[in-house]
Structures are given as C-alpha cells and as structure tokens.
Symmetry: C2
Subunit: 336 residues, 2 copies
C-alpha cells in the first residue's frame, strides 16, 4: 500500500458526486480524525475496480455494503468474498438524501433529470412540481451535464462540485433510508486499522453489554450439504454465546445447488469465542473467510411490539382459539 | 377474484416489453396449459401496484423475486410480507438476456440506448460496436421510443411489440443470469392453485428424494431477541428433517434492531413436518406467515469441489499445518 507524507489513495465508485463519493469524503474525514491519515480520493468506473485497486496494493477503498431498504449489495458481497488480498476495517453509515439542483439563476424549469432509481425515489417532488422526468446514466451525471430549464436530483455534494444552486433540499419520498459502506484495506492491515479506528493499538472502545467492541463479517461454506448443516453451524455460534445481527445464505455463483453463509457477528475474529467457532469449522474442513472486522455500532435493541409487526400473520398472541390452539385465521395465514 | 369465461387479469410491472412482461407472458402460457385458465395481461407502474391489485381481488400477479446475481428483490419481499390477502402459488424462471434492436432498415448507427443497468450488462457489445451509450428510463422505453441511428437493448419480446429489427441476439456480457418470478393470487386460493399446478387436486408431482413435491417461503419473527433465538428456530427446522434452500435475516423496516427471518423450505405448509414446526412457533408466540407455496423445482445437488470455492479462505483441506492445526495462512484469511 502506498503510504508516504502525501497520504494514501482512497478509491470509490464514481462518477464524482455519487453517493459513494459522499461516503468517501466522510471516510477521508474519519481517517484523518481518528488515524491522522491523509487520503486522496480517486473515482472508479465500477465497484469491481475499487476492490481491484485495493487488491493490487494501490491504497484503501470504500464499497457500498447494505441499504436498509434494498438489503445487501449482493454483487459487492460476492466480489469481496472472492477477493484475495482485501478486507474491511471500518463501517460508515450514509443517509440517502436527494437535493434538487438548478443552474444559477435558472427559473423557467420544465424537466427533472436523474438516474431512473433517483427519479423513482423522488416521485412526490416530481408530481408536485409537474416537471417532465428524464433519465440520466447517474445522478451525478445529471448534475454535471445539467442544461437550462432542467432540475437535477443528486446527493448534496453535487451542488458545490458542479457549481449548482440548491432548488430544494431533501426531496426524497422516504426519509430514513441509509446505506452502510465498508472501508477496505489490504488484508494484512485490516485488523490493525480496525483496532486503531476502535481506539488505538491497546485501546478498548465501547464494549457495551454484548461483550465485544467489534463486529465481524464471516463467510462459511460447509463442505457437506443437506438438512442440518446450517443448523449445526448456528448451534456452534449460539453455544459460543455469540450474537448475530445479520445472516444470509447465497448460492455460489455459477454453481446451482451450492451455498455459502454470510454472518455478521458481534465479536472480533480474535475474540476467543468467535476464534474457537472458526477454528472448529476450519478443523472440520469447512471453507471460512473473515470479510471484515470493524468497531461495533451502537444499535437500539427494542422489544418487538405488536405495532412493529407486518400485517396479517399467525401468532403474536392474536390468532389463537379459545382452547389455546390455532384457529381459522391461522390456517389462512400459514396456507394450511 | 374476477373469473368468468373471459378469464382472469394477470398484473405485472410494466412498461410493455419489460422482463416482467416477458415473465407474465410465460406465466399466461403455463396457466393456460396446466390449469386451462385464460389470462389477460395488464401492466402496472410499480411492483407495489401489482400486489395491490391482487390484494383487492382484481386477479393474479407476477412479481420479480430473486435474481441469481443480484439476490432477492428485497423491496418486493418486504411488500409481500406486509400484504394481507396475497400469497404466491407458482415460481417461474426467466433468463435475463438482451437483444439489440434497430428500426427496420436503419444502417447508420451511432448511439445505443437502454436503462443504465441494461447498458452496464452489455458493456462488451458497446465497446465492440463503439456506439455512444445513452440512458433511458427503462429498456422497454428505449425500444418503444427508438429513433433513427439508435440501437436499443431490451428483452426479446420488444422486437415484435414495437416493430423493430433484431440487430444482434443475446448481447449480455454474463450468460446464465436469470430471475425467478412468483405467481401471486388471493391467499385463500393460493394452496389450491399450487396443488393444481403441481399435478391436480389429488395429484402428486415430482416427489424426488427430498420427500415433498412443494417448496414454501415462510417468514418467522421470534418475539424474543438475543443470542440463540435464531439457532433455536433452525434447530426445530433441522429436527423436523426439513431442508432449506435459502435463508435470510432482515431488519423490520423502520425499526432498527428488530429482525425477521425468511426461509425457503423443501416442503408444503400442510406437510406434517413443516406444519408441526409452524404450529410450535405460533404456540410460543412467534409471528409466522407463509408467503408462498409452489411445486418444487428440479435442482442439481453437486458436491462442493475445490474449484467451486471462492478464492482465498481457510480450510477446505488446503491451509492446515503439518501438525493438522491451522497455520499462518489461516491467520491471514480469518484476520486473527
């Protein structure tokens, strides 16, 4: 990795003005504040290229990981699973918010330009203004190439970047959407960087009531298939007292019928509890890889109340017959 | 549901010429062949509207469910989980393939038009032809609004639909991408339709070595949180001898820290094994809903061979030291 008095490169998915660019700018601030590390941002054409640069030892990277509406960014997940020399060492949460921009002084507005997803996420604004929607290859490109009479939708960073006026702020329909980005480094440096981000080499950041100051993302591929393989793995995780905040099975790309399991666990890989689980899995011949370790997030842990549940469904105390057994409603909800 | 001699409505995500349209046409053929059911296709502006029409009793629906590259379509998954009167009764696999279209007789080609995702999935074709890429709101819209000098990228169905000439077939970079679509009906009709699709009321379609002719998609929301809740649920599934082909944890939307679990299981909800697991979960107060039941797919079950594994990683017999214990490589792969 290139590190000298000029700092390190930090690669992100472009173009300039993308949400990834905004995340990279925030990452640069955090690395400067917490690690006294200067970074130079560089845009890549594809997420794959971000991983490639880090794999080649060119510097650090920022990669979109999970969105609270769309879920995990599966192609990025698969690419990181398959990368040889890369691992995540930090997690960065970015709000997904759109501003509406115009060219300075422009008043006769007729069209609104954005990526089709951006247009879909700002429907209310488009209906209210009556502007004609026009597709662009990206939100950032819409801002960069803005013409007279057009409004562009994009991340706040685009305003200063392209010399635009903010016509209206936060025009997205859904407030509260956010994307988690992983900070990537060379594998051999990831654990050290995570520890430094979490409070210095010997430091102990928040330990909380979960017993670890870190979270890890680990992929397990059991060499056996069939009923019980997954339950057996999760038994070992449970028996070790580890808490998972996310779990997903994924077919192995191009090989129907084979599966990998990705777990986000409230522990560092070097914590004895998680270390023993991984050691046992490797010992029995499973394929195991830690994709990331980073200082843990503060998370709410609310009780699950009735009002939070999806509509319909059996159980949750509401569909039992007078004899305590499931009634007609249950048949409907379970398709019995 | 509207059913008379004129048949039923079948709703899909438009515009005309979308991959969903192509899936709906295939669904119509299958419903006609297997159930002698005539359908009339109707395009909706949003996936949410497809579910809404089925929920209102207007007819059947087709919903994108899972892509083998991008993963589950999480917003559709969440919307179906929260829908009151809708369930899936069939699964339809569609290849994701792009044809390149031109206006009849057009020869002086300068631009290529598609949704940004379509452009990204046909990069090689664009590089080879040297055409200038232009974004469209959808691939179908690119075909519908095609101008002289332009090539549009879209599903094969667009050719006949918009009177275009096929310039080249199957121009997507990645061969083998596919999307699974769910066929939706009113909840009270879903189990009956699934049985009819699977071989008639008393029929028994493929039983195979997994013991059931059906697959089910079930959402569980345990009312307790904390370590072991998930493992406990999966223990009960394992102890019942049930095989899962997919499993995912999802935060409950808008409520950080709460989770739902979606499992795809090789059994019908009325099979005693799955029935007992659901009964026990409901009995202990969990929220449970069957989202879909459909005739099972034939799936390959290959052994996991070395060459199928992602790169790097510990285990799989390759990184053990001479004493049978994990060596240096393991430290690197696990971030110890």
């Amino acid at each position: 990795m290139t590190e000298n008095e000029d700092g390190k490169m930090l690669y992100f998915l472009g173009p300039l003005g993308s949400f990834s660019h905004q995340a990279a700018m925030a990452a640069g601030e955090r690395l400067k504040g917490a690690l006294r590390l200067e970074t130079h941002l560089a845009a890549c054409e594809r997420a794959f290229d971000v991983i490639g640069h880090v794999e080649d030892g060119d510097g650090l990277g920022v990669l979109a990981w999970e969105n609270n509406v769309e879920g995990h960014v599966v192609p990025n997940m698969d690419a990181l699973t398959d990368a040889l020399e890369v691992a995540g060492f930090g997690l960065l949460v970015q709000e997904v918010a759109f501003d509406a921009f115009v060219r300075p002084g422009d008043e006769d507005l007729r069209q609104v330009v954005a990526h089709p997803h951006g247009l879909a996420q700002c429907r209310r604004f488009i209906v209210e203004t009556g502007l004609e929607p026009v597709a662009a290859p990206s939100n950032a490109a819409a801002c960069r190439d803005l013409r007279p009479g057009q409004v562009a939708l994009g991340p706040a960073v685009c305003g200063g970047l392209y010399g635009l006026e903010t016509y209206r702020s936060s025009v997205q329909d859904f407030q509260g959407a956010r994307t988690d980005f992983l900070l990537l480094s060379a594998r051999r440096e990831a654990a050290g960087l995570a520890r430094r981000l979490g409070g210095g080499p010997g430091g102990s950041p928040r330990t909380g009531d979960r017993g670890s100051a870190y979270e890890s993302v680990v992929v397990f591929i059991p060499l056996d298939t069939g009923p019980g393989v997954l339950a057996g793995l999760l038994d070992r995780i449970r028996d070790a007292g580890l808490n998972m905040t996310s779990f997903m099975s994924r077919p192995i790309k191009g090989n129907d019928g084979t599966y990998s399991f990705m777990a986000t666990i409230d522990a560092a890989p070097w914590d004895p509890s998680l270390r023993d689980v991984m050691r046992e899995s490797v010992g029995r011949g499973d394929w195991v890889k830690t994709l990331a370790v980073y200082p843990g997030r503060q998370r709410p842990e609310p009780p699950i109340a009735q009002w939070m549940l999806p509509r319909g469904g059996a159980g949750a105390g509401k569909a039992m017959g007078p004899d305590g057994l499931p009634g007609m409603d249950v048949d409907k909800e379970l398709l019995w």
